[in-house]
């Protein structure tokens, strides 16, 4: 079983190498396999909304969306077989967006409504 997994991952890792020297070509089976996986994850994320896990729901949705985005980036956008620099650039972009959102959320969580009155009924006496 483990041997089978190893064979499949090696097959994906070296997919397309038998073609022309300069350029790496993605085989059709890999493209279709990635597409099918994306469909499955889409179905999963829609199905997950019918399960009520409270605050966890949005994180599950975001996690599935992240997996889908990485499938698109790694295979459709060829990052797996490209120069590592491209992948590094992409990861930096993601990192900075996350940093941006995190810092802004930290800032907004420091609002002092007792000084300036706001309106946020869902947050109690915040």
């Amino acid at each position: 079983m483990l041997e089978k997994v190893r064979r499949i991952t090696t097959k994906i890792k070296h997919a397309g190498e038998e073609h022309q020297g300069m350029v790496h070509v993605l085989p059709v089976w890999l493209l279709v396999a990635v597409f099918v996986s994306l469909m499955l994850f889409t179905w999963a994320t829609v199905a997950a909304t019918s399960v009520d896990l409270g605050r966890l729901n949005i994180w599950i949705a975001l996690a599935i969306a992240t997996v889908k985005a990485f499938l698109v980036a790694l295979y459709f956008m060829h990052l797996r077989y490209d120069r590592p620099l491209h992948g590094v650039i992409f990861l930096f972009a993601i990192f900075f967006v996350m940093l941006f959102v995190a810092l802004v959320l930290m800032d907004t969580s420091a609002y002092r409504p007792e000084l300036i009155e706001g309106y946020a009924p869902a947050l109690g006496s915040q």
Binding site: L31, M39, V46, V51, L62, F90
Partner: protein
Amino acid sequence: MSHGGKPERPATAQGHPGKPRLGHHYDTYEQQFDSNKLGMWLFLVTEILLFGGLFCAYSVYRAKHPEVFIYAHYFLDVNLGAINTVVLLFSSLTAAWAVRAAQLGQRRLLVALLTITIVCGFGFLGIKGVEYSEKWKHGLLWGKNFDYEALRHGEHTGADDHGEAGETEDHGTGSTADHAASAPDVALADETDPSATGYVAADTASNAGEMSNIPASAMGPPGLAAAQMVTEGHGSLEDVPRNVHLFFGIYFIMTGLHALHVIAGMIAILVILVLATKGRFGSAYFTPVDLTGLYWHVVDMVWIFLFPLLYLIH
């Protein structure tokens, strides 16, 4: 020795003689391709950060006012959003496959795949257009164009409290006096997930007396029929949170900007398609197909995140 006033170009500006499409500032095709691809990735980073700013606005507003998001998600049709997701993912497949076809010099396949990608783009925009027109019809617009009056007249259960006394939700909405016209028109997006949200898929015959006086035939295509929000206690206007129009502001700017990117991508792919029909691309030169495909994948990735954040709110 000028020919009719035009200065003579030095030989090096014409690139490498005998090597078409190799710029003079590059040594090899491979270097040119690498450099072009790197430049494209840097541009894509700016696109990611552009949408990142909007996602930031979404995050802040959702963190502070979750009640607005939970309420407003009733107005978005999950089915249409899911169909759009599938359409865009399929178009990503055909775009990636088109790159492969260009690399292998499969011209007819390349043209076919690029055409399918553009058709998928049209499909996406068509569904978006349907969604937008439904919202326009019901006054679910951004900012002060949001029609709270339509909600007021659409969601009365007729049963318990009507909430006319506490008109706390009357904010500068620019609501006009044509609620007589908008009242019959309040078919809301259907949440066709009865087990989860607790209300039944729209059965217009049974709720005709309750919610609206729209005849069943005028309810529109399936999936857009009226939702019975009354069973969840959202029947009266008192349950409408303040500032719902801000959710729609966020919704329209994010999906609108994304749709603009889809249109721009489709134009780019169209240009590539025309060039492909002329046989411009092959194993030696497929860069434009590759780079356009990259752009299209970023557009798809943005939608992959937009879909759960906007449509799959619980």
